[in-house]
Symmetry: C2
Subunit: 420 residues, 2 copies
């Protein structure tokens, strides 16, 4: 058992109140949250928070972890050239060995930013799952389409593989799917009664193309085909019609925003405040490191709110506390990780400790707003997943030497570039 | 003498080439940059970079350090309410003791972000200077107007006070200056043959108000009055007419951009790429921690480039290498710190070491682009000013206990809020 004491606690179990509660962890679960007690069990480790903040970890609700190999490989290029000249030709060379190491690298970065679970869509999913299991990291795999049979096999396989791994059906996007593939996705949703996630309305040209091909927006098309019959949602959701938003609201779909990627690829600013006004389900993702280029939830939270202030030309737009909820409980909801969404007895011990003794957290006026407006990786003292400390004070405890992971990533880049 | 060896060097002395050069520091100056040599002097300390990057520190070309006391005190409010209900009433209570400690707090934060000099405009400048001198931090004080005599006295006083301190005349803004004060500023510029810096065209309403009051934009007004006769520039520069930009170009004025503040206060996005096309002198500032809320050059650099991609709807807009130059040589130029702008023999040893062994820097495709697109405080291994190591691996060496500085800031906030 582990005890976190003598600090602040932001549990997300009720409102956004910061308390002085202690947190006890037993195995992979939280066993107690509340005031200090005299009837304490024997702890393996007692962590003196010394005024630091314990809270649930961030959930990265859309990413492509394996894309670490493309980080800063192709910046400052127009979107189409970036995708067709740099990304797609490189991706063709990926294999399971590559994905394993590139994912282990991404996991290190998630940990530095207090991210305790990812919602990942990429290739070679068995190798991907192994990288997560070996690191002790939690992930929800989003499928990338295929035949109905393949998706159903993946669904059963990954959802029974390991406590840290789960799987949600999905596919890349309307513009890369044939009518047959779209029909297969709808059949899968019906068959499994499962939510479906997909890149949706990321760019204006994507939406225009869909209207030309199908006579309606991607959201209306997926709705009509039955793909969204059992929930799910869209990644990006930058260009959404009022009808699209109505469908999202009525079906309880999740809009996952990726502001850094949408900026860097010049896609646009999602209408987050309008979505909030409508009461939509919202979460935040980093997208992959090729288009961001960091896997940093602090960057995403800051961008989520300030871009809305710009979009609405209103400094009061998009309250930071709502953004913090998106990054924690929102992400957990989108990813189906309802046992990782707050600090309460019986919940998974996916926790982070925020160092309040760094200058950007001082003086302490408002902990939650400061997290969003001033917080950074520099404040992540500790990242804990399923009760295991994977990151503490800059050091990683992921079952592999960090320099080995860097060396493997360098080898892979060399081989892919044809230098190796 | 200190030796940095076995790593990468981005000197900014020529282009943006990353070399394997070593750097030697003697006292407050750089004494050698080049390949390893056998004829080495005796070093007090040899720093094995182990592949890490040494480069000149960032220059924060516009800030109000003492505003740390307002960090996260008034977020998510409309600009006018924020300023008139929260900022101005609190600022009236400031005194030299408060400014001293609040500045020492800000300096800690600059160091964590690799910032080695600030261009600061705020109150109680003697206490402010003491805080910098006592910390070992370099700063350029920008005046806030006053009578011609006062400004000239300040100019002579601060420019001969200490090697780490210099002073440039300035005033808050057109909309807070009387005609007499504007005339005084012009007289000071002529008398001292000195550059003048001022908040300029931060918001659309500021520009409109100036046109109503004076029949022209702030830039045209300052130009006509002779305030810009010996150079200087503007902070923010969000709403600039073509005529304004022409004046900036012809006079070699500096446009200092503050993208985080301009987002958070919903001011707008400065036309940086257009300014680049015109060949304007450009630098980057954080603005104060009340409107940002962090003092983090990595955030500013990322925002500077991605906001231009959004503004132009072009992912190729605003090359990251140009942004990195703005944050280093640009800032040094704006601040008159021409002896701190690059790593070359005889220059001041204002250096930072960037940790390349963090996951966000791996794999190493492109060091300079990665600094802008993925870099963070997590990568700042060391910050050195005038040859003194002030920050290393999370620890501060600023002549004062960090917890004491936090405690003083808390005391001050309590007193200002009337709780103390």
């Amino acid at each position: 058992m582990i005890r976190f004491y003598n600090g602040l606690c932001l549990s997300f179990a009720g409102g956004m109140e910061v308390t002085g509660d202690e947190v006890w962890v037993d195995g992979d679960k939280i066993s107690y949250v509340g005031p200090a007690r005299t009837d304490m069990p024997e702890f393996q480790r007692q962590i003196d928070l010394n005024g630091d903040l314990v809270m649930p970890g961030f959930k990265d609700a859309h990413t492509h972890s394996g894309m670490t190999f493309l980080r800063s490989y192709a910046d400052d290029l127009p979107l189409q050239r970036w995708l067709y000249e740099r990304v797609f030709p490189m991706e063709e060379k990926l294999n399971p060995d590559y994905i394993y190491w590139l994912t282990r690298l991404a996991i290190l970065e998630y940990l530095t930013s207090g991210i305790t679970a990812s919602f990942d869509m990429y290739f070679h999913r068995d190798a991907y799952a192994s990288a997560n299991i070996d690191s002790g990291f939690r992930t929800v795999i989003c499928g990338v389409g295929g035949t109905a049979q393949l998706i159903e096999d993946e669904y059963r396989h990954f959802n029974s593989l390991h406590p840290l791994i789960s799987y949600v059906p999905g596919f890349h996007a309307e513009y890369t799917a044939s009518q047959e593939q779209l029909d297969d996705m709808a059949a899968v949703a019906r068959e499994l009664k499962a939510p479906v996630f997909v890149h949706n309305s990321e760019t204006e040209s994507e939406v225009q193309g869909c209207i030309e091909r199908h006579g309606m927006t991607p959201t209306c098309l997926f709705d009509k085909l039955g793909i969204y019959d059992y929930g799910g949602g869209g990644y990006h959701c930058v260009y959404m019609s009022e009808e699209d938003l109505k469908i999202f609201k009525e079906r309880g779909l999740w809009a996952v925003t990726n502001p850094a990627s949408n900026c860097k690829l010049a896609s646009g600013i999602a209408p987050i405040t309008h979505m909030m006004d409508l009461g939509l389900n919202l979460a935040i993702g980093t997208d992959g490191p090729a288009s961001n280029n960091a896997l940093d939830m602090f960057r995403e939270m800051y961008l989520t709110t300030v871009l809305q202030k710009l979009r609405n030309m209103d400094a009061a737009a998009c309250d930071a506390n709502e953004v913090l909820k998106m990054a924690v409980t929102g992400g957990a909801g989108a990813m189906g990780l309802t046992d990782c969404d707050c600090i309460a007895p019986g919940k998974q011990a996916d926790l982070i400790v925020i160092d309040m003794h760094r200058p950007n957290m001082q003086p302490v006026h408002n902990v939650t707003k400061n997290m969003v407006y001033a917080g950074s990786k520099d404040n992540v003292r500790m990242t804990v997943i399923a009760g295991r400390v994977l990151y503490e004070k800059g050091e990683f405890f992921v079952g592999e030497d960090v320099e080995r992971i860097y060396a493997e990533a360098a080898r892979i880049v060399g081989e892919i570039k044809g230098e190796g």
